[in-house]
């Protein structure tokens, strides 16, 4: 089992979610984060452009069985990539998931994902 973590633009959340559902990945966990990377985001403050050092981003975490890793990643990329070549589209991280437990049933392992 793998844990897939994606940092995406706030604006792409809906689209990523839809793509995942298309790919039959129904279970996800989402949170608000701020990121610093190559992207610069402008805000207006009293006639001045301000470039905050941290940009609001969305983090998505998905636990999947090994067989689903690729299609999950592809779905995220489809949903998160914006037109053109814009820094800030985000990153996907994959780590190994040793165990997964469904609290309701105490099931363990790939059943529980």
């Amino acid at each position: 089992m793998k844990l897939i973590t994606a940092i995406i633009r706030e604006t792409q959340l809906n689209q990523v979610h839809e793509e995942l559902i298309h790919a039959e990945i129904e279970r996800i966990t989402v949170s608000r984060v701020s990121g610093h990377g190559r992207q610069k985001r402008e805000e207006i403050y009293r006639g001045q452009v301000v470039i905050p050092s941290l940009i609001p981003k969305i983090k998505i975490e998905i636990a999947v069985n090994d067989a689903f890793v690729d299609q999950t990643i592809d779905a995220i990329i489809r949903g998160a990539k914006t037109e053109g070549d814009n820094v800030g589209d985000g990153k996907i991280f994959v780590t190994n998931l040793e165990q997964c437990i469904r609290i309701r049933t105490s099931e363990r392992g790939s059943e529980a994902i």
Binding site: T11, R32, E42, I44, P52, L54
Partner: protein, 442 residues
Amino acid sequence: MNRNLKILLSLPLIFISLGAFAQGTDTDHGITSWMLTSTALVLLMVPGLAMFYGGLVRTKNVLGTMMHSFTAMGVMTILWAAVGYSMSFGGNILGGWFGWSPDYFFLQGIDNSIIKDDAGMGIIPEYIFTMFQGKFAIITPAILAGAFAERVTFKGYVIFIALWGLLVYNPLCHWVWASDGFLFNMDAIDFAGGTVVHISAGVSGLVAAIYLGARRGNYKKMTPNNLVMTMMGVGLLWVGWFGFNAGSSINSGLSTAQALTVTQIAAAAGAVTWLLIEGFHQGKASALGLASGVLAGLVAITPAAGVVTPIGALALGFFASVICYGALILKNKLGYDDTLDAFGIHGVGGIVGAIFLTFFIRASWFDGMESYFFTGNRTMAEQLGIQSFAVGIAIVYSIISTLIVLLVVDKTIGLRSTKEEEMKGLDDSYHGERGYGMVNPQ
């Protein structure tokens, strides 16, 4: 002790003297005081509405939605001072389509004008009447904006409300409230803006919502970003509405007190009714439900505040909530996307108020009227006809002229947001800002 006081006096006197020594510029200080207060209270409704609406949209659109109200405060004020007051309260031109008086252009001719009563006694400076009425011209498009929240460009919005004010609001206001307006002269009752404000905003909003199409995404799954702020907003709206309704008496006496009393009771009746319906229908009585009931009650009592008794207010609040609740259920069936229910609450509530008030007019009113425009007593059925006619006119005129405005704006500068703008949200796309910095690490 009064040695210093005497000296001190020269301060207020400078200003007082400006008024007091000029010929015939004396006013009724008590009525003037209440009208000044009412003007402030109605202004308070604009931030109140911004908060009410702002809390209901999604996080990314909170500022953009609040800006709809605040920008109306800027744009409509200037337009009103320039031409709006003249178009609304000047003498009939173009066959009574709207009014015009050169004196009113940029309010240049009323710098010392005092509104007087029959006996020639000064009541209030005309400026106050102008400003009080101007607040209605601000809040009407701001209410309307709820119907197409979360999906219009800022530039387009500004042009839209400017044109809408000129083409829709000002004529309607003229017809209903100017002394030579044709609905006014038919004795259509609209105490504080049932047709002019709420029906026109609600119906025009509905037209715009349908014309522009629904928000992108599954709009039936979208939830409010800040109901807490929505509740604060409804609190300010309720308080401000006292100015709206009781101020419309242009008095500080019995008629004012009557208007204030029925306003309070109708709001409360609307609130309790909505809570009860929702409690029975859904098993839970929501805070937004209470807020909606308050609004429905306030909207319905608006045209009626001068003519009904407390019992009538109770009934109007009740019917407003029942019928608006039904209208919202129906909307979900019909499937158009009136984002914040400008039509469902203001349009429907305004219609309920304007029609149903007929059944609750206090007896003395019928006598009072005839001394002015009638030679005999009027029946309730006759008044019902008049009210229905006025409502019908307001609806038809709003639909047609709003469509024209929409077409003009849409075909020139554009009104609907692009997909990218809508996904990013109004705040980022048009204002370059975020509403709530504190929810992310800064």
